[in-house]
Amino acid sequence: MSLFAQLASLTVQAGNGAHHSDAQHAAQHAAQHAAQQAVNWSEHLPALQIALPLLAAPLCVLLRRARLAWGLAMLVSAGALAISLTLLGRVLALGEGGAISYHLGGWQPPWGIEYRIDALNAFVLVIVTGISTVVMAATPRSLESELPRERHYLYYAAYLLCMTGLAGITITGDAFNIFVFLEISSLSAYALISMGRTRRAVTSAYQYLVMGTIGGTFLLLGIGLLYMVTGTLNIADLSERLALVGANRTVLVALACIVAGVSIKLALFPLHVWLPNAYTYAPAVVTAFLAATATKVAYYVLVRFVFSVFGTPLAFDELHLDALLLPLAILAMFGASLVAIYQADVKRMLAWSSVAQIGYMVLGLALANESGLTGGLVHLFNHALMKSGLFLVMACFALRLGSTRLEDLAGVGHRMPLTFGAFVLGGLSLIGVPMTAGFVSKWYLVRGALEAGMWPLAAAILLSSLLAVAYIWRVVEVAWFREPATGDLRRAPLSILVPAWILLLGTLYFGLHTSFTVGTASAAARLLLGGTP
């Protein structure tokens, strides 16, 4: 027994991240620890969240067989979802402002890399892993028509790497680490996009690569400048020291570099040019995955830097970030929606709609009050659900019709009623009809605008949702009233249809039961506005 206890305390000491179990403590309660040893794994969940998909990616390459690689990727994805849900549960159990801190390799922050999970990034992690899992379920059937089966394993490897990168950006508490994971996710995203059916996918991926690299470079520059000023890379540490430094020119340039860099990844309005092409020509499932996660994580990074690192007083009161972001957000809401109305390809239309929806999220950020930020964060979740659901619907259309062009969707409402029903549901949510998730986010954004005393802004938010009515209803009219082309059409495969319906019913569910989304988002917003994390 005592030997066993010794062993247990040794393992605990042996250099892992459970920082709150120091050696003495472990020795005193050795027996207890021995009993807990199996549970110890659960203290490493933050590391597992990243390590699992990272290790599984090369395994996919080794497995080679499409079905096996998919099985592994699905398993890992579901496991990652389970982990992130557990983490979220734990963070929320810690109460307002609580956070889990995990020290990679046992190195103490600010020297070592810290994974720091609070209400905000636990929430984003759930979105990333959740969407990844649902989309993964739909992947094999949809990918068959777009990529030769013998190359599927590469797809799964890249997909897992992308998920690793996105989860890594989210979970880490280290600014430089954010850059590293951003590169992992970006590089694998380029690979994923280039796997599209047409050769245009390759140019789109290349365009994204050029833009993305510029974005990454700006981010790195910004982080470098921050390091120069403060001498630290840990986010918690950064924010403390930055508050002491105050607003000098270096900090201003750092903020500018970071905002510009992240805005490229986020596809904020004038920097969005890569997005419509990338989303249109990427394989359908890739679009469904990236639309719901990549831009969302970039939004998270922006929120994290603006509120946690720079802090509201610095970013808004002294550096007037809102003067930049607010007009851009409004331009995105109106400009991109208007462009969406004139698209001939529905998938491209949805891509433009994403640019517009990013405008709403950034608007929430720029309002910098609790309702507005809650709206932005809730929209992050809600938009992820509806957009990836809608893109899965596009996957159904692409599979059965061979195209997502508007004219080819003529009469599809009668020929594929279930798929079309899903589209209408997602569209209603995109418009923000009450009882759908879209309404909840808009409600908070409008409230945020009113609380900030900007009622024309509130009107603008609502007016721009009318543009969503226009572009969604254009599709509905063609699909419902236009005479269908001849030829028999089979129902979309259930393996895509069911995930799409899960996501879109999710938008309905989260339009009615908002305690999870709004509760978590408003907790995160309070945390962010309350000062340092």
């Binding site: 418009i431 009450p434 409600w443 009113l450 609502l462 009219e477 339009g511 709004v518």
Partner: protein, 520 residues
């Protein structure tokens, strides 16, 4: 109530959940109708039975609850913190629910006759969407706060879109676009903003006797808010947001009945009345001058729509503009914000519903029997379709406001309202005789656009030739010249016309219900 085993659990905690049940009822009906889509007779029977049982339910359970003194409410769901889907029974809503569910019975009968007589396709989809719209209307009627009202208001818009575009033609699509564009556009851009703003100012959106906005903001802000509500409620068809209503006449006639009488426009004006009475409160309306400008906007709509109606030769278009004009009466009364005026406008919801549904039923019956839709073509038809045109005459007189028909009461109270507006603490009171004049002029215009129809039909000279071949859809040929539409197309307008007559004698019942809330 406790005798019913199915309803027992619902009603054990008071009549509150019954409100929710009344909304679920048509939804269940829609489900049954959908399941029976392959058996047309069963499907239509189910549709009718749903309507009948719903009305019975409203009359036997909700009406007594409304007459009682207690607070009847039911929370469905708390969607956001402090933003609850809540149903609450109050006299205005009770009246609207009675009207909507009552008229649904005859509309569902009529729909069977019309849709079959006219050989329309997709009758199942039609019946389902119809039931959904009724559920939405009941939701609007029982809404306990602006948020709930907004939710059901949008539900009506969406569920009636497939009805308006039922024909699927290019014209139907264009009308559908206008319909959805205006209704959803105004509601999202204005009504939702008003809702959020109300919440922001008052911290609640509950319908509360006496209003919730008094003293919460400056008169300028409240005026803007009132305008957002008045114009945001596109279903009230206040000019310039009225175009959807004439456009929607491409829909089958039962849909026109639904739009003009049962659910849609009534939901709109009901929203305006309810917001003015329970969100602003009558006193606040005078304080912020809403009783002046909004009343004049309504008066303008009233007169100009009536003038447009005069110029329309298409019967349904004429009736559509007549509806716009008559709806403005209701907004007008609510805007005047005196007890009598509000009473009059609430009454007018019911009176106009019965009158206008009769007229539309008749227009549809004429179309089914003779395929004629223009006023100028109706010459002599009155003698051959006496029941249809008899009903039309009663309905028209009620719309004009002649006794002994229901419409005369609402106009009477509205006229009283323009007279006693000075007593209600209003400063100016200057324009009020003028407003009375507007009311009378508008009634004259109603005579102008409705009487020619009757006169042409009964006394016009018909060209008697080629019309005997018909379309095989005329059912009643027993008497020589008599050529009515099928029984199910003729019976409903006769019933609703008799309803107009009955409302004259039993208006007191309605007044008693309404007075409970409006004249405390």
């Amino acid at each position: 109530m406790s005798t019913c085993p199915i309803l027992g659990p619902f009603l054990s905690e008071g009549p509150g959940p019954a409100l929710f049940l009344a909304i679920l009822w048509p939804l269940a009906g829609a489900l049954l109708v959908g399941l029976a889509s392959r058996l047309p007779n069963l499907r239509d029977t189910l549709s009718f039975l749903t309507a009948l049982s719903l009305f019975a339910f409203v009359v036997t359970i909700i009406l007594p609850a409304g007459r009682g003194s207690g607070d009847v409410s039911h929370d469905i769901l708390e969607v956001l913190p402090g933003l609850t889907l809540r149903l609450r029974l109050e006299p205005l809503g009770l009246l609207f629910a009675l009207v909507a569910s009552g008229l649904w019975i005859i509309t569902s009968l009529y729909a069977v006759g019309y849709m079959r007589g006219h050989g329309e396709k997709h009758q199942t989809r039609f019946a389902i969407c119809f039931a959904l719209a009724i559920a939405g209307a009941l939701g609007v009627a029982f809404a306990g706060n602006v948020f709930t009202l907004f939710v059901f208001y949008e539900a009506i818009t969406i569920s009636t879109y497939p009805l308006v575009t039922h024909a699927g033609t290019e014209q139907a699509r264009r009308s559908g676009r206008l319909y959805l564009g205006i209704l959803m556009g105004t509601s999202v851009a204005f009504l939702l903003l008003a809702l959020a703003w109300t919440w922001h100012l008052a911290g609640t959106t509950e319908f509360t006797p006496g209003g919730i906005l008094a003293g919460k903001a400056s008169p300028a802000v409240l005026t803007a808010l009132l305008a957002l509500y008045a114009f945001g409620t596109g279903k009230a068809a206040l000019m310039p947001f009225h175009r959807w209503l004439p456009a929607a006449m491409v829909a089958p006639t039962p849909v026109s009945a639904l739009l003009h009488a049962v659910a849609v426009v009534k939901a709109g004006v009901f929203t305006v009345v309810k917001v003015i009475v329970y969100i602003f409160g009558l006193d606040l309306m005078h304080e912020i001058g809403g009783d002046q400008w909004l009343a004049w906007v309504a008066a303008f709509t009233m007169l100009s729509a009536a003038c447009v109606a005069l110029s329309k030769d298409n019967l349904k278009a004429r009736l559509a503009y007549s509806t716009i004009s008559q709806l403005a009466y209701i907004v007008f009364g609510a805007a005047l914000a005196t007890d009598h005026a509000v009473l009059g406008s609430a009454l007018h919801i019911a009176m106009h519903a019965f009158g206008k549904i009769t007229l539309f039923f008749c227009a549809g019956a004429i179309l089914v029997a003779t395929h004629k839709s223009k006023v100028s073509e109706l010459a002599g038809l009155g003698r051959r379709m006496p029941f249809t045109f008899g009903a039309f005459t009663l309905g028209a007189f009620s719309i004009i406001g002649l006794p002994p028909l229901g419409g005369s009461w609402s106009k009477w109270y509205l006229a009283l309202g323009t007279m006693d507006v000075g007593d209600a603490g209003d400063a100016g009171g200057s324009g009020r005789p003028l407003m009375l004049g507007v009311l009378l002029l508008s009634s004259l215009l109603a005579v102008g656009y409705l009487m020619p129809v009757i006169v042409t039909a009964f006394f016009g000279q018909a060209e008697e030739d080629k019309q005997h071949s018909g379309h095989g859809s005329h059912g009643n040929q027993s008497e020589g010249g008599l050529r009515e539409a099928p029984l199910l197309c003729v019976l409903p307008p006769v019933v609703s016309a008799l309803g107009c007559l009955a409302l004259f004698y039993y208006a007191d019942e309605l007044v008693t219900i309404l007075k409970g809330a409006l004249l405390p």
